[in-house]
């Protein structure tokens, strides 16, 4: 592993990043596609803009451009990613896609299935072949659960495949619906955690009907946050944690402050409606504490940082269920320093910054050279 130049405060801390993004252009995936869908990707090419590729990452972009602001970034090669992580002081990272954040909105089942195969092969062959601290989440295909289950089994033994990414933006029905049981069962059998990841999207699907908001700021407030809350409830309401007792579930890119709210709320109404969901033999909060993990980015930034640490402790007293994530190289990435400045115990810091992720993803602790 390439050491970052200079001595850092974090030199003794293993920093694992639960959520970083590769730029998966249609051109990049084209060699991994079969006809006729290869033709479709050839038409789209590689110079397409981020998260806005008709037929590939279809987005309803509603805002007028306003000059200024900061540039968007994307990462195209493992070397580029390694350099970015080194500059951030991050040891290891788990790769998620850019454009395939919108994967669940693709309606053509055969085409979506082919894209999922191509992305997974591309990821493993071009990003996960070297000993460079990069690990990956293969994409699940909610459009074709049975095929997706076979795909997960196919990659179960790949050392550097450490998770199954569940496309969450625009997914319908939500994760938890029984049609997805083959995917969850395959992930459980492969001992791979499933990671929910959403993105700001406007679609007719619940809870992403954000067309009434005048600007992206408002849609950004709600899209990821509602996605995680709605999918957590959906997983609970069909008894996923009871029906898949070994399955580990991660939630990304919605921060963490929503977690205590939701577990308190689920517990309160479990008191009243337990008889509707009797497969939950424990309180929802207990299933959350046992087998659910939460990635920090975009970390909340209250005026008093002690409030944030107290909030994490409400659902995770020792940090063992909380995962540092940068979301690098995206516009709202969190530098490790944003977390390292928080007033928490060394144990909690060690867990959140890396140990929790090593455990969840089954990654051996890196040896410092």
């Amino acid at each position: 592993m390439v050491a970052a130049p200079g001595k850092r405060k974090t030199d003794d801390l293993i920093i694992v990043d639960a959520d970083i993004h590769v730029n998966d252009t249609p051109a990049a995936l084209t060699p991994y596609m079969t006809q006729p869908w290869r033709k479709s990707l050839e038409v789209m090419g590689g110079g397409t803009s981020y998260l806005n590729v008709p037929g590939f990452a279809p987005a309803l972009k509603l805002d007028p451009p306003i000059p200024g602001g900061h540039p968007s970034r994307s990462v195209h090669t493992p070397a580029e990613m390694r350099q970015g992580l080194d500059e951030l002081g991050i040891d290891l990272g788990v790769l998620f896609p850019d454009n395939l954040l919108l994967f669940a909105v693709l309606p053509n089942i055969e085409y979506a299935t082919e894209i999922s195969h191509a992305y997974n092969r591309w990821l493993v062959e071009e990003w996960l072949r070297e000993d460079n601290g990069l690990y990956g989440a293969i994409v699940a295909c909610p459009q074709n659960p049975h095929d997706s289950a076979r795909e997960i089994a196919r990659y179960a033994k790949e050392d550097k495949v450490v998770a199954v990414y569940l496309p969450t933006a625009g997914v319908h029905p939500l994760w938890g619906d029984r049609k997805y049981d083959p995917i969850l069962g395959a992930a459980q059998a492969a001992n791979l955690p499933v990671m929910l990841h959403s993105v700001t999207v406007v679609t007719p699907q619940f809870p992403y009907q954000l067309d009434q908001f005048e600007n992206h700021w408002a849609r950004q407030m709600l899209s990821h946050a509602f996605a995680m809350q709605a999918n957590l409830v959906s997983l609970m309401h069909t008894g996923v944690p009871a029906r898949f007792p070994e399955l580990k579930v991660g939630f990304t890119e919605a921060g963490i402050a929503w977690v205590p709210y939701m577990i308190w709320r689920m517990d309160k109404y479990y008191n009243e409606y337990r008889r509707m969901i009797p497969f939950l033999e424990k309180r929802p909060s207990e299933y959350v504490r046992d087998r659910m993990w939460f990635a920090t980015q975009p970390i909340e930034e209250p005026d008093d940082p002690r409030d944030l640490v107290a909030t994490i402790k409400l659902y995770d007293p020792d940090g063992s269920r909380t995962l540092y994530a940068s979301d690098w190289p995206h516009h709202d990435f969190d530098h490790p320093k944003g977390l390292l400045k928080l007033p928490m115990s060394p144990e909690m810091q060690r867990n959140i910054m890396g140990a929790s992720a090593l455990e969840l993803f089954g990654i051996p602790a890196p040896v410092r050279k």
């Binding site: 008894g239 009871a242 029906r243 517990d267 479990y270 008191n271 009243e272 409606y273 337990r274 008889r275 509707m276 009797p278 497969f279 033999e281 309180r283």
Partner: protein, 118 residues
């Protein structure tokens, strides 16, 4: 500790329950399949009149039921009328939260008379 006569067994047949006042306490008396139980008429949640609720069974669903809903514990489950919290009459335990339990007063039948010790 004193014994308090609740009444003849014949007036509390299996499946029935009633709330009685003993000293200044309201207590629910339950006959579950011939066994008697006495619980305070106050819910642990927000102090609702627990024993004014209905006695019923409840649902179960697990690998043991092949993940199909089953109807179980008929006559053993008390549901608070205020917010629907379920309690197991035979143990006092809350079904949604086993850490929560309502107390059970000693109750017995002697010579056909139901007697509560308080």
């Amino acid at each position: 500790m004193a014994e308090h006569i609740i009444g003849p067994v014949a007036e509390l047949p299996p499946g029935s329950h009633r709330v009685v006042k003993v000293r200044n306490l309201e207590i629910g008396i339950f006959n579950v399949g011939g066994a008697f139980y006495a619980l305070p008429n106050i819910c642990t949640h927000q102090f609702g009149p627990l024993c004014a609720g209905t006695v019923n069974g409840t649902t179960a669903c697990s690998a043991a039921t092949d993940w199909r809903f089953a109807w179980v514990r008929e006559g053993e489950i008390l549901t608070c009328p205020w917010h629907g919290m379920e309690f197991d009459i035979t143990t006092g335990r809350c079904l949604a939260n086993p850490k929560v339990r309502v107390r059970q007063y000693p109750i017995a039948v002697e010579d056909g008379i139901v007697k509560l010790t308080l």
